[in-house]
Symmetry: C2
Subunit: 310 residues, 2 copies
Amino acid sequence: MTLAQLKVFVLVSRLGSVRAAAAALGVSEPAVSQALAALRQHLDDPLISRSGAGMELTPAGRRVVSIASQMVNLAVDAEVAVRQSNGAAELLRVVTTSTLSQSIVPALLQAFTARAGGIEVSLGVATTEEMAALVEERLADVAIGPRLAGLEAEAVMRYRLTLVGRPDLRLNGNGLAATRWFVDPTGTDRLSDVGVLLSKHRVPEDRIMVFATEQAAWSAAAAGDGVAPAIDHMVAGEVDRGVLTRVNATDIPVDLLLYVSSLGAQRRSRAADRLRRFIRTPVAMQAMYRPDSGVPAAKFRPPVYVTLWS
Amino acid sequence: MTLAQLKVFVLVSRLGSVRAAAAALGVSEPAVSQALAALRQHLDDPLISRSGAGMELTPAGRRVVSIASQMVNLAVDAEVAVRQSNGAAELLRVVTTSTLSQSIVPALLQAFTARAGGIEVSLGVATTEEMAALVEERLADVAIGPRLAGLEAEAVMRYRLTLVGRPDLRLNGNGLAATRWFVDPTGTDRLSDVGVLLSKHRVPEDRIMVFATEQAAWSAAAAGDGVAPAIDHMVAGEVDRGVLTRVNATDIPVDLLLYVSSLGAQRRSRAADRLRRFIRTPVAMQAMYRPDSGVPAAKFRPPVYVTLWS
DNA sequence: TCGGCTCCTAACCGAATGGTTATCTCGACC
DNA sequence: GGTCGAGATAACCATTCGGTTAGGAGCCGA
């Protein structure tokens, strides 16, 4: 029985699927399946099994999840305790969606680290579905994105999701469902803002093209036939320069709220607390709204993390 | 950071020595030292270091011990929870001293398992010093032996430690300190009853001969020049048959109390509770006092365990 | 200063862990 | 009754873990 196996088990039971847990951990599905198998063998109980949609815990499984969850949490505590005793920089692990990880959040975190000393920030990307589980299992300290149920969520800013295309773009009769959509990886996350937009407009799979970054999606829209969702104030420059134009339609643009979510005040780390306080300051607002708050060096962007912390 | 490493660390900090922890775990000393080294490297803190006699925790170490201890405990809980949910036999792990493990305790446990169904008992041997740590760290459920501080201890029976030798034995002028002492492994445990006896009579090391079992020590006493400590009612037969005779001296024989110690009522296992209740019954008393309650088959005596459970 | 005790390190080894890709099995669903 | 999706299994590989024995470093007491 290893801590890794317990962590896997907890995540599987939380997310209700081996696949989802594998994705959240950034490993292949058999890796998770095997860790689970090892734990099952060790404890001599299936713990959790498929049952139609989702999975179901056995009686023993139910008892083990809560214990395992505590253990995983304590493991985190131990590491934090040591760091703290030794005056080392605190570690703040932030998860966010792909879209936000490219502009708003890095700018925010950069301003934060510049202001608050002694905190080391790292940024991870996850789907909306995973974020809550990651925070609850202490695999991340703070989630920035849509409102997450079960966590202490707080609205921090309002932003507008708009649709852009090249200025001379003409939509044919079928409207948005018939044109091509250029999206960043967030588009594949059904619960994300962009995902919601796609399903609301019933955009068929074969019309969606996924790019690694939002910028890449804009470029494609500027060059070809199609539209790209974008955070309004981030494309303001391109629109002004006439490279792109906003496309209006039903429910577009849509005004959205950005939330910061973490565990309750008692259970979250001090660093998480400090970020939450910082995020309400004018400095933070300014950083998030500045369109050119381009990626400042490699500090926040070792490619794009798809995987989570160990 | 593995659970094994944490267990090692907790045990070292409790016993105040790498050697002692190694002995308690039944492994070599470098094994413990290395586990500790791995944990130190992982947490990037020495955690614990030598300081004259004993070892001293670093600030970080102090915080980690308590967390690690909780984790080790939870790991035990998890296994217990699964067993219990599945109606499997509960596991009761008993530690005792070498002397007691040869006669009284096996007889007691045999009577216990016969009476209480659904409990699987295993017996381990440890030094007095280790017993408390083993119970507190949940590596054992119950300790039977001398009174242990910090645990819920309860006196269960009175027994008499006596000294036997061959009937025609003549002690020379220097008395007991000058004769040879035949002891079982408990004699090497300074805090045990026999160990206390040896140091009280200032018996020099080279006069002490250690045998694997108490019986072997008696035989040696019956055959050669020397004395052997024995539990009075266990040698009654030999004395009656004239094979051995009791040797009297200052503080000998000595009347002692046998204690059963475990965690408090809230924290101990149900099986431990049941043993504690059983041990007060006449059936238990009878089993412990019967001299011929010889080792019943291999069930309780796969050689003698020197090592503990994983 | 010389043993001796205790802890640490080195070198090595087998087994378990954690990961991959490829394939099988099984239930849900047209 | 195919087919598809999701989980389990197989086969394989690199790394780590946990263990050993052998030997080195510090610190005490005689």
